[in-house]
Amino acid sequence: MKILVAVKRVVDYNVKVCVKSDNTGVDIANVKMSMNPFDEIAVEEAVRLKEAGIATEVVVVTAGVTQCQETLRTALAIGADRAILVETDAELQPLAVAKILKALSDKENAQMIILGKQAIDDDSNQTGQMLASLLDIPQATFASKVVIADGKATVTREVDGGLETIALSLPAVITTDLRLNEPRYVTLPNIMKAKKKTLEIVKPDELGVDIAPRLKTLKVEEPPKRSAGVMVADVAALVEKLKNEAKVI
């Protein structure tokens, strides 16, 4: 079984971004970039399936600028077999990415595509579902447990009231939630090994997909600030404030 894993290069989760003064976006010049944390979980899951003898090959893919190669190398160091970068400087929105991934999935004939449930930059939570829809295959979003057996994927999902388990015929799309696994620490020997793995670069045109953005960002602003609060001395003072000042209890 061949697994395709899609990853995204995003602002590192520890960075608190600042809105640009001209309100055209957030300032990401000179900030640390990393693999989207949910995608790291996706790569780890695919590599574990290969180590368990279920997957035969793990192909990691991304779309974006030249520097995305670093993100792919990280995935290769975790244990993916080879990588594909769909290189473009254009703004990519989830529908465009889903179309790119569909083209790659068709070409690779993947039996399973694993993605993070959402990217921590645009917080869209769309690409996996859109990909499943375009491929007309089933999906299991927000996965916290994946079991592959008898040509089926049985997936436990994190839903609002707790957990839900569904069974999918393959091929299928799975999107990862936080508790699916804990990605391994990437070791230096594996980083060195990853440098020798194949990283193919293609252009969106070669895949024949329309990546034009559909949404126009008119402006990006700071959220309204909360006014500074007060520190209270003890529990009695807190109760007094809540009762008489905030009047919420």
């Binding site: 971004v17 917080d123 579902q129 009231g161 569904i166 559909r214 520190m231 109760v239 919420v248």
Partner: protein, 311 residues
């Protein structure tokens, strides 16, 4: 043109998040219909028909729709999508699951987690865990939207006089099947609908301490229980308690954060609460930067004291 809201329900009752989505829909179009796609969902349909401001409730009933699986649900939405300018669902686990499937089939973008309707084609939505608010305009003929419930006050659950129209279910392929569900049973209010929330973090040290300290305080306040990601990861409570960027987004009247340091990802899920109280022994904890009332104290003594003071 009219807007269609996808009801969130369990066939019997309607989830309140539907009312927030209707509120957003009414800002997009004066004509709002609701789709109740389920199995034996007459009760939920009846409840939906009473929602204020709704024109029509479309009921599609089929066994395949019993568990709201994304594939058959998307097929039903697409079968009636023609004629609507806006398709909306609450940004809950279910809405997030199904709506992008619909958008992709219509070859349109989705607007996720909107917090404000600026005009019929322009919306505000948070990005970067709520550290920035983007105003985005869609040029697509149909707007597929998920609605962040905390951004819209719910419409009244009663007072409406919508007609109910039954439609036959469209065929779907059945490539996915429901296996089972483990839902947290609780007599406490639902997290996303609660007026007061008491949340516990890693400062509690264990699941036992969470139950021993947080639960009684919540009961005293009639509050729902929440938790930080760290507390969920450490196994103190189950995943559905998680408040944050990738968990539940809440905005209660009162949010009490106990032993929660206040990572960006947690703040993203609760900083729109009306009043925030933080109890933490570390005076430098980032949670104090968003708290209206901060108490630097050892939670193991302060929380029981607070519970007692409220009794």
């Amino acid at each position: 043109m009219a807007a269609l809201v996808i009801a969130e329900h369990d066939n019997q009752s309607l989830k309140v998040a539907t009312l927030n989505a209707v509120a957003a829909a009414l800002q997009c179009s004066p004509e709002v219909d609701i789709l109740v796609a389920g199995s034996g969902a007459d009760a939920a349909t009846g409840v939906a028909a009473q929602i204020a401001g709704v024109r029509k409730v479309i009921q599609i009933d089929a066994p395949a729709l019993a568990d709201q699986l994304a594939e058959p649900l998307a097929v039903q939405i697409l079968s009636i999508a023609r004629g609507y300018s806006h398709l909306l669902a609450p940004a809950t686990a279910s809405g997030k699951n199904v709506m992008p499937r619909v958008a992709a089939q219509l070859d349109v973008a989705q607007l996720s987690d909107i917090t404000k309707v600026v005009s019929a084609d322009t919306f505000e939505r948070p990005i970067y865990a709520g550290n920035a608010i983007a105003t985005v305009q869609s040029g697509d003929p149909v707007k597929v939207i998920t609605v962040r419930t905390t951004g819209f006050d719910p419409v009244a659950a009663t007072g409406g006089t919508a007609v109910i129209e039954k439609q036959a279910a469209a065929e779907s392929a059945g490539k996915s099947a429901f296996v089972g569900r483990e839902l947290t049973k609780s007599d406490r209010p639902e997290l996303t609908a609660a007026k007061i929330i008491v949340s516990g973090g890693r400062g509690l040290g264990s699941g036992e301490k969470y139950q021993e300290l947080i639960a009684p305080l919540a009961d005293q306040l009639g509050a729902a229980l929440g938790a930080s990601r760290a507390a969920v990861d450490a196994g103190y409570v189950s995943n559905d308690y998680q408040v944050g960027q990738t968990g539940k987004i809440v905005a209660p009247q009162l949010y009490v954060a106990v032993g929660i340091s206040g990572a960006i990802q947690h703040l993203a899920g609760m900083k729109d609460s009306k009043v925030i109280v933080a109890i933490n022994k570390d005076p430098e904890a980032p949670i104090f930067s968003v708290a209206d009332y901060g108490l630097v104290a050892d939670l193991f003594t302060a929380v029981p004291e607070l519970t007692k003071a409220l009794g």
